[in-house]
Symmetry: C2
Subunit: 443 residues, 2 copies
Amino acid sequence: MAPVPTISTDAVDVPVALLGYGTVGAAVHRLLVENAEDIERATGHRLRVVKALVRDPQRARKWLPDPTILTTDFAEIRDDPSIAIVAEVMGGIEPTGTYMRELFAAGKPVVTANKQLLAQRGGDMFGAAKAAGVQLRFEASVCAAIPVIKVLRESLIVTNVRRVLGIVNGTTNFMLTNMEGGADYAGALAEAQRLGYAEADPTEDVGGGDAAAKMAILASVAFGCRITLADVDFQGITEVTQAHVAAARELQMVVRLVGSATLVGSSYDVRVRPSLVDRQHPLAAVDGAFNAVMLQGDAIREIMLEGPGAGGIETASAVVADMVAIMGTHGTGFLQNDSTWRTLQKLPAGELPSPFYVHIEVDDRPGVLARIAERFAAHEVSVSRLIQTPIDSGAAMHVVLHEAPEGRVLRSLADIAELPETRSRPMALPVVSDRGVSGLGWS
Amino acid sequence: MAPVPTISTDAVDVPVALLGYGTVGAAVHRLLVENAEDIERATGHRLRVVKALVRDPQRARKWLPDPTILTTDFAEIRDDPSIAIVAEVMGGIEPTGTYMRELFAAGKPVVTANKQLLAQRGGDMFGAAKAAGVQLRFEASVCAAIPVIKVLRESLIVTNVRRVLGIVNGTTNFMLTNMEGGADYAGALAEAQRLGYAEADPTEDVGGGDAAAKMAILASVAFGCRITLADVDFQGITEVTQAHVAAARELQMVVRLVGSATLVGSSYDVRVRPSLVDRQHPLAAVDGAFNAVMLQGDAIREIMLEGPGAGGIETASAVVADMVAIMGTHGTGFLQNDSTWRTLQKLPAGELPSPFYVHIEVDDRPGVLARIAERFAAHEVSVSRLIQTPIDSGAAMHVVLHEAPEGRVLRSLADIAELPETRSRPMALPVVSDRGVSGLGWS
C-alpha cells in the first residue's frame, strides 16, 4: 500500500492538474483563478493549475491564460510529486480508468465528473483509491452543481435513506415540459437540439442511459451497496406521445422521466421510467432543463434538492468544491470516498409495487369495460380512477391503478392485449404521488 | 490562546456531552446510540454521550437509557478533559452564551441548534471559537435537517451567492396553506396550535422573529458579513387576511411568508415579508409545515433545498451530522465556523426594488381609478396588472406593480390613502416571481 499522501498545510500554493481541458476543464481553471481569494480564505491555500492533459494542444480553447500548462503526456502529471490533486474532466472509460488507477498508486487524490466510469467501474475505482489511501470525490458526476452526494454522505449520515426519487436528466425534462406546451416528440427533440440541450445523437439522454448511470451512483451512496449501470432497469422517453401528456393533464398530473431507487427489505430496486407525477408532488414543479432529487429517510422524512443539473460552469463549481473539500478533510473513510459496505440483492423483476397509469385503446363495444376490469381483477389489480374519451369509432381508457407489483400489472395488461376489442398493446407508466414519512415512529 | 484541541484519531470511543436534554437532546442521544455503527463506519469513532446538563434530573424524559449521565453542574462538562465535543440544545441567550464561551476556552468544539443566540450574539460566539482555535458548527440552527449551511459554505464556495430566498418558518407556512383552503387567520392559528406547530404564545412565529433570526444567519454565511437580528427588517403574517389570499389566487399566486437576503452592489438587504409568490415559482409549491431555501448565485444560477424545517428528530439529525463533521475535518477556517470576512453597509430603508401587490379599497365613484393611477405615476411607479372586484357599494382594487424601490411604492400609497375615496390604508406585499440567472456571462 502506498503511503497516505500528505498535503502540506504550511504551503499556501498547492499545484493541481487537470485531465482534459474542454468546457468543464477550462471552467474549473477559470473558477480557481477568479475565486482564488475565496478559496484561500476558506482553506489557507491557493489551488494553482500547473498541468492539463489534452490530445491536441493546438486546438482553440475557450479560456487558456497560459498555454504552457497543456501536455499530451500523462506521465508528466502522474510523476510530478508536487501535484497534490488531480481533477478528471476528460470523460470516457479508457484510458481514463487506467489513468485514475495510476494516479491513486502515485498517492494523488482525484476529483471526477465521470458518471459512466463510476456507474460501470465504480468498484474498481473506489477499491484502487482505498487501497492507495487517497480520496476519490465525485460530486460533479451526478446533477452538476446540485450537492446531492455531499448531502447524502455527510448531512444524512444518521438517516437511513430508503428511497431516492429523481429527475436527473435535463434534456428529457426540457423535452417533456415542451410537450406539455403542445409540441410533439420530434418537435421537442428538435428544439432541445437547437438550444444545445440534446446531442446530435440523443440516444444517451432520450434512451434513459444517462439517468440510469446517475441513479446507479446515487443508489450506491444512499444504500451503502455497490449498484452498477447493469443493475438499473431503464426506459427512456422515446415512446412517450402527446396522448400520454394529454391524459396526464386530464388526471392532474405531468409526465416526467423519473429515476427511483428503493430499499425493499434487504433488496434494492433501481429504475428509470417515464412516469406520471401528481401535480401536488414537488417533482411535478421541476420544469425545463432543471434537475431535482428527493431523498426520503427515517429521520428527515424527505429533503428535495433542485437546480441546474448540467452545464460547464455548474459542473466545474462542483469539481472545485470537491478539490477544496480534499484540502479540509483527512482520511479516506466513508465521508471521503463512496460508502459501500454491504451487499444487497436486486429485487426480482416485477416485484416493486407502485401505482400505475395505463392507457388502453379499444373498440367501443358493449361490455368491453367489464371484460377489462375482469382481467385486472384476475391478477388482483384494482382500479383507482378511470377516464374514458372517444377516439375514432372507439375509446381511449385512461386508468389509474392502485399500488400493485409491476409484474401483476404487466400480466394483466398482456391478458387485456389479447381481448379482441383491444387495438394496441397497452403501456403502463408508474405514478408518483407519495410523500416521505418518518419511519422512526418516535418524535 | 488555548491550545488547538486534538481529538485522538486512535481512540474508537469519543466521549461527548449535551447541554440540555429536552426533545432535541434526547433525540440526539438516541440517534447516536441507534446509528453508532453507521457513524463508526464513516469516521472510525463511536460518539458516546457521557454527560447531559439539565435543570431538573428528576423530570420525566422521553428517552433516557442511563439516568446517571444527567448533571446540574456545568463544570462537570467543562472541566472533563475526556469530553471531545459538546452539543448545545438547551436554547436561550443566557446562561447558554457564557457556557459556550467557557467550553471554547476549555478547547471543546461546540455544535449548536440555537438560532437566536447566533442571530443576536453570533459575533461574540464565533469570535470566541476562533480565538480558542475550536470549531463552532450550527447547521441545526436554520431549517433543521435541510443542510443549507453546509451547502452554502462547502458546495458553493466558488459561487458568489447574491440572493437567498426562503420560506423558513413552518408554522406560518402551515397557516397560510390552511388559509388557501378557506380558513381564516384565527382558525388557521387554532389548527396550528392544535397540531403542535404553534406555541400557546405564537408571537415568535407569526410575528416573523423566528424567520428573521434564520435569515440573519443565512445572510451572514452567504455574504461573508456579520448580519444580526437587528439588521433584519421583518413583518409577520398577523395582518394577512382571506382577502389577500383570495386576491393572490385570482392573480395565479399564493401568499407566503418569504425571507429575502439580497446583495445590491456593496450593500445588503435582509427582510421578512408576507409576499405574493407566482404559482410558477418553485417556492409556491412549498406546502404545509415544510421549509425551502433558494440560493441564487453566479456559477449555479439557482439551487433550492426543501424539507421539514422543524421537529425534534430532524433537528437532532443535523446536530449529529455536525458532530460527525468535526471528527472528519481539521482547522477552524471558513469551512468550519462562520464565514464573515468583510463589512457591508445595510441598504437604506426603502431602496430595495421589488414588484409589489397592492390592495386598495375605494368608494366606486367616477374617476377614482384615474386619480389612483395619477398618484402612482407621480412617484414613477407603474402598474403591471389590475383586477377590480365589487365590494359593498365600492370596489377592491388588486394591483400588481412593476419593480420599483419600496420607498417610492409606500410614498405613492400614502398619497392614495389621502384620497377621499380611499377607505383604509392600503397594504403593499412584495411579489416573488423572478428566477436566478447566471451572472458570469460565460459558459
